[in-house]
Amino acid sequence: MKLVYFSAASENTHRFVLKLQTNGTRVDAIRLPMGRNAPAPLITDPYILLVPTYGCGNPRTAVPRPVARFLNIEANRALLRGVISSGNTNFGSSYCMAGRMIADKCAVPHLDSFELLGTQEDVSRIRERLLTA
C-alpha cells in the first residue's frame, strides 16, 4: 500500500523511508510538505500514514502541524487505512503518542511503531507490512 509520511528538517523519518526502498523493493511513498503553512496534498488512493511524535509529551503538539492539516481534509482522512509512528521511550507514556492520537481520532489501527531512526528489524518488519497491506 501507498505510504504518506512527514519528516522534519532532521530527516530522520525520511531516512527510514529510504531504507524501506532498499533490497529491490519499491514502496510508493509521498512526503508531506514541511513548511508550517505549506498546502496539504490531496491523496487519491488508500494509504498508511507514517508520523514521528513531537511535543515531548504534550498532546497539543504531539502530531506535527502539517500532518494535522493534511488530515483535516476529509477526502484524505477517508483513504487512511492505518498509522505507523515513531518516538523516543525517553518521553515515557507519550512514546509514539502521535500514532495513538491519530488512530483514535480517525478510527484506524495503530499498526506499528519504532524508535528514532528504527533498527534493521524495524525496517524489515514495516516493509513487509506495507507490501502485504
Binding site: C56, E115, L116, T119
Partner: protein
C-alpha cells in the same frame, strides 16, 4: 593596555528571522519542559529509602554522585563548548538553555541527597565520585573532546554523554520505581530523562548538518571517530557498571540498558544502531518504569509518585484539528 573594540556590527539575536526552524522548535520544547526539583515531593521517599539494604543504598548514592558529575561537566563545559561553532544565533541561545538545565539537573541530585542522606554520607558520595577510576576515566574521555579543537567531535562526545553515558545511572531509579520504591525520586529522574532526549536529538542534529556538508574523507573520519569513541566509552561503562551493580547482581540487566541507549546515541548522530536486538533486550520492568502512567495511578499532589507534568490524556482538543 587593552582597548575596547569598536562596537560596530555586533549582532543582536533576531527571533523573527529564524533560518533553522528546528532551533525555534527545540527552544519551545525546552522552555515548555522547564521544571525545578522543588516541585517534586522527594521527602515522601524517606520511608522507602529506609527499607533499602546498606548495599542498595550505597549503589544508589554512588549512582547519583556519578550523575551529578556528568551533569556538571555538561553544564559548565559541554554545552558551552558548542557555542563558538553554532551555525545560527538561535542555536547559541538553545545551548544557553541546555547549559542552565544541566545545572538544574546537577542541583536536583543534591536535593535527593539532602532528603535521604546525612552530611557525612553526602561528603562520602562526592569523595567516591572523585576517586572512582572508571567514573573519572569517563569524564576524562569526554572532556578531552570538549577541550579539543574539532567542533564536530565535540558534538559527538556531547551526544554520547546526553544519550548514552547517563544511563548506567538512570537504570537505578527506574529499577526502584519498578519495585514501587523511591517513586518521587523516579519522577524527578524522568523529567531529566525527557530533557536529555531533546538535548541528544538537537546536538546530534547539528552534528548531522555539519557532517552532510563535509567531504567524503571527512565524513569517513567522523564516522570512524564516532564508533571508536563509542567503543572506548562502552568498555569503560562496562567496568563502571560492574563497580556499581555487581554487589546487587544487576550488572547484566544494566548492560542491556546501556547497549540499548548507545544505539539511540548513534541514531541521534544519524548512524545505524550497532548492537543487535538480542543484546539490547531491556528488562520490560525498566521500560515500563520509564512510562509510569500506563500502569500506575499515583497522583502528583498526594506525592505518592508518578508523572508530574507528563501528559496523560491521549486525546485533547487542539486548534489544529478540524474534526
Amino acid at each position: 593596555m587593552t582597548t575596547t573594540p569598536a562596537l560596530r556590527g555586533v549582532p543582536a539575536i533576531n527571533w523573527n528571522r529564524v533560518t533553522d526552524d528546528i532551533d525555534a522548535d527545540v527552544w519551545d520544547r525546552l522552555t515548555s519542559n522547564f521544571w525545578l526539583p522543588e516541585k517534586v515531593p522527594l521527602s515522601n521517599d524517606l520511608s522507602s529509602w529506609r527499607t533499602l539494604t546498606a548495599d542498595e543504598q550505597t549503589m544508589t548514592t554512588r549512582v547519583f554522585a556519578g550523575l551529578t558529575m556528568l551533569d556538571t561537566i555538561q553544564s559548565t563545559v559541554g554545552a558551552i563548548s558548542l557555542m563558538p561553532d553554532a551555525r545560527t544565533p538561535h542555536e547559541e541561545a538553545v545551548y544557553t538553555n541546555i547549559a542552565f538545565m544541566e545545572s538544574v539537573h546537577a542541583k536536583s541530585y543534591s536535593s535527593i541527597f539532602s532528603t535521604l542522606l546525612s552530611t557525612d554520607e553526602i561528603d562520602d558520595a562526592f569523595r567516591w565520585s572523585e576517586e572512582n577510576e572508571n567514573l573519572q576515566r569517563k569524564a576524562k574521555i569526554v572532556l578531552d573532546n570538549y577541550w579539543g579543537d574539532d567542533p564536530e567531535k565535540r558534538k559527538v562526545a556531547s551526544t554520547m554523554l546526553e544519550s548514552f553515558l547517563f544511563y548506567s545511572g538512570f537504570y537505578a531509579p527506574m529499577y526502584w520505581s519498578s519495585r514501587a520504591k523511591l517513586t518521587n525520586t523516579a519522577d524527578l529522574i524522568r523529567l531529566i530523562i525527557r530533557d536529555e532526549a531533546v538535548h541528544g536529538y538537537y546536538i546530534g542534529y547539528k552534528f548531522q548538518l555539519a557532517a552532510a556538508e563535509a567531504s567524503p574523507e571527512r565524513q569517513a573520519e567522523l564516522k570512524d571517530f564516532t564508533f571508536t569513541l563509542l567503543q572506548e566509552l562502552y568498555d569503560n561503562e562496562d567496568a563502571y557498571t560492574e563497580d556499581l551493580y555487581d554487589p546487587l547482581g544487576l550488572t547484566e540487566d544494566v548492560k542491556m540498558f546501556l547497549r540499548y541507549n548507545s544505539n539511540k546515541a548513534l541514531m541521534n548522530l544519524g548512524y545505524e544502531a550497532l548492537f543487535p536486538k538480542e543484546a539490547t533486550a531491556v528488562n520490560p520492568a525498566i521500560l515500563a518504569a520509564l512510562s509510569p502512567s500506563a500502569d500506575e495511578n499515583h497522583d502528583f499532589f498526594s506525592g505518592s509518585g508518578s508523572s508530574y507534568v507528563m501528559g496523560k490524556a491521549v486525546d485533547t482538543q487542539d486548534e489544529d484539528w478540524e474534526f
